[in-house]
Amino acid sequence: MDPESVVASAGAGGSFISLNEPEQRYYSGLHSLCQADASGTLSSSKVAELFKASQLPPESLHKVTELCGAKRLGYFGTPQFFVALKLLAAAQSGLPVHLESVTANLPLPRFVGLKNEPEMRYSAVPPSIDGQGAQCVSAPGSVCRTPADRSTFRHLEAKVEKKEPWSPPRSPSSSPPRSPLIYRGYPYTKKRNGADSQIAYESKHSSRPIVLLEQHSSPSNHGTRANADHLAMARASSSERLDQQGAVDYSDDDPWRITEEQLEYYTNQFKTLQPDLGALILGTIAKNFFTKSKLPIPELSHIWELSDVDRDGALTFPEFCTAFHLIVARKNGYPLPESLPPTLRPGVMQQEEDIPDTPESAEPLIVFEDAEPRPSQMDRSIIERLQPSLATTKQDLKEESCKQDVGVKRMTTSQEKRTLQFGGFPDRPEAPQDLDPHMRTKTRPRSHSSTSFEDTMKKAEEPPTPPPRPQKTHSRASSLDLNKLFQQGAPGIKSGWFPPPPALPPRPLTSQVSHFVNVSEKTVQQPNFADFSRFREEEESSVKPEEQGPCSRFGPSTEDLANASKQDGIGVCHSQPPQKPLRRKYHPESQNLETGPPPAMPFPTPTKSAQKLLSKQKREIQMAIRKNKETNAVLTRLNSELQQQLKVVHQERVTLESQLELLRPLAPT
């Protein structure tokens, strides 16, 4: 379509019709919605639907059709369509349906179920970051701009033609009139996996409001698309994100609501930066990441200020989503808000923005009864999760909510829902505001339920070690020690044998160094080993020191103790003190291969075989540990020897130098 001709040939009367930028967008969106085919003629059924949606009396509609020239032509061409839209706007604002009316600055034509104000606000809001540089930024509220910015219009037209499969509007919307749409659109949101155009058509067929909504959003799409292209985002998959998100930017509140797909995208991006969703992204990392968006640094700085609500210099996942969303919105041409919009708040600080919520949430009460079954479950989960923030937000909301406790809870839950959206729960419905009515009905009984989510979190964080199992058989006062040993052993076992039982470490040392290491063994052991160490001392005196320190042998036995299944065998062992020295001798035989075979152990194998079986599992690890320790010891010895050599060499050097100095005075002489 030649935009020039559109504008120039506007209407049958040949009067020049000027379209503002928002109007251009809006109309072009509607135009695309009406499924124009190649020749530019619009599907008459769609047009008829649109006209009906404008809620004008049929006579007016006939007149509009007549005036715009479609009747004459027999079809709706683009110019006719635009004129018709203008006439509709005029008719809706009370002006007579006449061509002269269209020259006035009119609000956008209204269609059923949709308020004009959001459109107005929206159309006024986006500054022209169109990248074309020719636009002047429209001051908010001033719809009356310099007429007919043809370059934009042409561009938009081009965009319309090029990008037919634009993304449909995201159903979540905080403004009440869209709630029916949102509700019905909800099932469709699930299907959106890039097949945006399909969904657009699906939703078109579903109900008229959805059609209208898309029509309304399509101008924004085109506008944002244009902006986005110009801005040439450098991020990976930025284009698809724009596709997904362009539709969100639809009214003053909608741009600041994060949709599910956006949330998923943000989640993925968060994970690339920080795999743990509950952790923080550091400021520098976030800075590098967001700098890729090629927004100017002051804007990024402002975005950071808005999103880092706890002022810690790092971004939690909700903060990250906020920041990301603001960046996206900015790239799509939305001016940055001075304060964080309510839909983007993480839910903690929602004091100022509650007032806008009330009017919005008033209407879903009416519309939304049907949606109860589906979102209710999510509501419950949401509410349960957000119990802690209820307290904080409640007081804030009490003042502002027009209803009493009901309203408070509704507000809190609605805001909590928003926060949840933001907090990465993908199952949440996209229209939390609309769920307010049955939030109201259902939150009350649930308002004191425990936070299941937090409970699960806590459970996950519990230490894995179980409480120490009571020893079944304790033969002596050392039972207490066994318990403590058990406690130590259990975490050790569970953590992969990592901390060897205190008795083990000295073992290689004893083999390599001397007796005194045995002493150190005892010192190494923990105080609760007192009894055992004493006992071991006795054993040591009876057993050769080279036999791998009794305590070390006892180590595995204590480790065995740690295992409940081995308790019986251990108990047996402990209950047979006279066998201990023999058992210990046996242990080295079975376990301490590297230290050489201990003296023959003629003693009864049955008792020890039981132990052997029990300790088999630990033997290898213990052996490995011992080997490592032995190598450590070897290396330390080597180190010490080398150090000594180094000292010797140093001394030699010193002597040589002194000799040299002595000789020097002699040399010249």
Binding site: G283, K287, P298, S301, H302, W304, E305
Partner: protein, 139 residues
Amino acid sequence: MAVCIAVIAKENYPLYIRSVPTQNELKFHYTVHTSLDVVEEKISAVGKSLGDQRELYLGLLYPTEDYKVYGYVTNSKVKFVIVVDSSNTSLRDNEIRSMFRKLHNSFTDVMCNPFHNPGDTIQSKAFDGIVSGMMVQTG
């Protein structure tokens, strides 16, 4: 209510300076600049005696016939200077302290912003907002 608020970096160049009667800005700039000498003097005097426990709030730096100048220095030698009108006698010391505290807090917020490079002029809107809140409401 301040007439002029300034943030001076460690190297004694202004990071942020704003005064309300915009036609007389140069005078305030000069005032702030001269007040830096007083600040330096106070820092050096106190720092030697107390070490780290130097008081951040420096108090009235010097009064002139038209206005009074208060100073505050952070531990990183960033100085905040507030110039208030002498005719505004209702301002008590505590109020000035609270103003400095607010300034300091929002300054730290600005610093925490990873997009802000230390040494750059402060371009944070939040900081601007705080400062505006403290400034005299006259045109």
